[in-house]
Symmetry: C2
Subunit: 404 residues, 2 copies
């Protein structure tokens, strides 16, 4: 697998537009389209309160085909009732009309403030102007880059998150590219934030969905920033087949290569999302081993990763392992505290449930920007790994005044 900066897969075109949805002066709409219909797959938020575009996409993905995605930042189009659904449909209709594609083959995603209606009076002309040649009815999407697309979907993100990889399948070069936005309201479960994967791979839609679901579960579902799960979490994948490889089917030739590449791409984006967590200064891996089951391990790791007291201790470089012990203790998992070991990187800080007297070494590790907390429950084979960041005054500042 070769890193290939921000190369677009064959047949994909990106158009951006500026509609001043939340604030003027930046591109806040992206259209990703393929010159041919693509196999499509999606993973969505498990939040009971789903944004209008999420319910629309879930419906439109039933035939596993799509040709375009229109995405806006600055407004989540969530809790917006029938008008929200109508607006999502209208956005997609403008795109499918301009690009002459089937109207059900345009998907929609939104991110931003919940509860406000989309400013359609600004979105419509902006979309139309960017998709057609000025003053004509001739479709002429602007050729923006993958990085432009990643920038346009940012909300409180501080840097765009885009990645592209080439893999060889048979004698064909296949490109897998993706963009994501993260920052806050991040604690996915069965889905996450916004992420769009495009590839020129020829693949069966069942295989695409399988690979996507698995990759999301292993990457975005393992990160948490603030424990808040969004109404809009959406991961979409479009595969248009223009690389010309023999069509990949589940567990057939090429499936493994694609699966690995997809997981690597999503993991890099997931890690970027944590590094760009609102106000975050540190990247933290919480690893649990020796738990009764993988499920128990996940619950223990997640409780530690979401503990405000652990996150503030990491921020303050206070190697306060007592807070980690307290957090696993209220995780809901039963265990014997007197056998638990805890390590900060390789330094033992708790041995058999009590302090290992390595406070100064442990403190040194807590002053680093990247650190791993390993908790060995010593009672089974269950393991899990969760990625998170610290909690800082800046997280509070950003979120106290998000709408203003």
């Amino acid at each position: 697998m070769q890193e290939n900066e921000h190369k677009l897969p064959k047949g994909f075109i990106i158009t951006t537009a500026e509609a001043a949805i939340k604030t003027p002066g930046r591109k806040d709409i992206v259209v990703i389209s393929s010159t041919t219909p693509a196999e499509a797959a999606g993973v969505f938020t498990s939040n009971v309160v789903k944004a209008a575009p999420v319910t629309l996409d879930m419906e439109r993905l039933k035939d596993a085909t799509a040709q375009a995605i229109v995405i806006n930042s600055g407004n989540a189009n969530a809790c917006t009732d029938q008008q929200g659904v109508d607006n999502a449909i209208e956005m997609s209709r403008i795109v499918s009309d301009a690009l002459h594609i089937d109207k059900d083959n345009c998907l929609v995603a939104s991110t931003g403030v919940i509860g406000a209606q989309l400013p359609m009076q600004r979105i419509k002309p902006a979309l139309i102007n960017s998709l057609f040649s000025a003053g004509t009815a001739v479709p002429n999407p602007t050729n923006a880059t993958l990085l432009d697309a990643a920038s346009a979907i940012m909300t409180t993100d501080t840097f765009p998150k885009a990645i592209s990889r080439d893999i060889e399948i048979g004698d064909c070069t296949v490109t897998v590219a993706a963009i994501a936005k993260g920052a806050g309201m991040i604690s996915p479960n069965m889905a996450t934030l916004l992420c769009f994967v495009i590839t020129d791979l020829a693949i069966d839609h069942t295989a695409l969905q399988l690979a996507l679901t698995e990759a999301v579960d292993k990457t975005f579902n393992k990160i948490t920033i603030d424990g808040d799960m969004s109404t809009n979490d959406t991961v979409l994948a479009l595969a248009n087949g223009l690389a010309g490889n023999e069509r990949v089917v589940a567990y057939g030739y090429g499936f493994h290569s694609f699966r690995v590449a997809l997981q690597e791409v999503l993991m890099e984006l997931a890690v970027m999302c944590v590094r760009d967590g609102e106000g975050a200064t540190k990247f933290v891996t919480v690893k649990v081993v020796g738990a009764g089951t993988d499920g128990d391990a996940d619950r223990l790791a997640r409780t530690v990763a979401n503990s405000l007291l652990v996150k503030t201790a990491i921020y303050g470089a206070d190697a306060n392992w007592g807070r980690i012990m307290a957090a696993i203790g209220y995780s809901g998992v039963l265990f014997n505290p007197n056998v638990v070991d805890v390590y900060f990187n390789d330094v033992p800080v708790v041995t058999n449930g009590r302090g290992a007297n390595n406070d100064s070494e442990a403190g040194e590790i807590f002053r680093r920007n990247d650190l791993t907390i390993t908790i060995d429950m010593k009672s089974g084979q269950g393991a899990a790994r969760i990625f998170t960041c610290d909690l800082t005054e800046d997280y509070v500042k950003i979120n106290a005044h998000y709408r203003t």
Copy 2:
């Protein structure tokens, strides 16, 4: 029921001592003792990781009798292994020797940093000096006040929490007094923080335990500050019978009066703990009505109360009801979002799942120091109420540098 400032019940004596456990210059040990053995009851943390004094008290309360409690702040004596248990026993032994009480009748409670051993070399002489007349072996506890006791058990609390009430049972005046400490690591479940209730009521120990368990469940178990549950949460009650009333039994004469008084006392302390939440500037009541069950209502209310995004929005006076909808959506409770109503005080902000366009009125309420968020699920009779506070930069500051 009469408020009676900080009056002590008959036969109770308070002694404080200074042992520089975390920092010098303040009283950090309290002994609460009764001149006669008392009926005793307790409610403890459900954290799997329990501090040494918690396990000791659970054992010693099996006979439902106690005569003294020794409490220290500055060190939690948690994750301290057998030496921690030995130190807790040693603290209680000094007290029982000095006061000539049965050694199993002295309970112990600790609060502060987890994982460090108690500085027994300072605690022992400090305790002995305060309990005996200087230089002699004659017991002579200092007569400190209820407020002195409340001050000595503080950690990051900014004010002492003490309360005393008189009730009439038959022709006897009964005093119910209590102290508590709170501030952080507060999300009790089946128990909470530290709270000590003393009363001269004559009551059967089963009735005392029943009243205490119920009162804790209705008060301390309804507050959350940061969602972190402590290893040391302890509520103890001592009733020495010196008021001379006819002995109260469960559901018998006087039981209802005591129950009500106890709940009122604990509720006032619980509210004080929320008001004094680390860095808190606002007191928030999250009320859920119309849920399928009380359990669902509790889960919904707790998820909203613990959402970092809701708490920071409240701090920033941003009436961002979308975050409330997102939080109930990931609570784990299934519901139809399109029937949900949300009110800030009496102002509807969400009606049938969408914005009610009262943003300016709603914003005005979010600028107040006390506010109520009411969520009507409109699908049943389940109701719950949780008390919480906002999340501020100061919470982060306090907890980033707690040990230093």
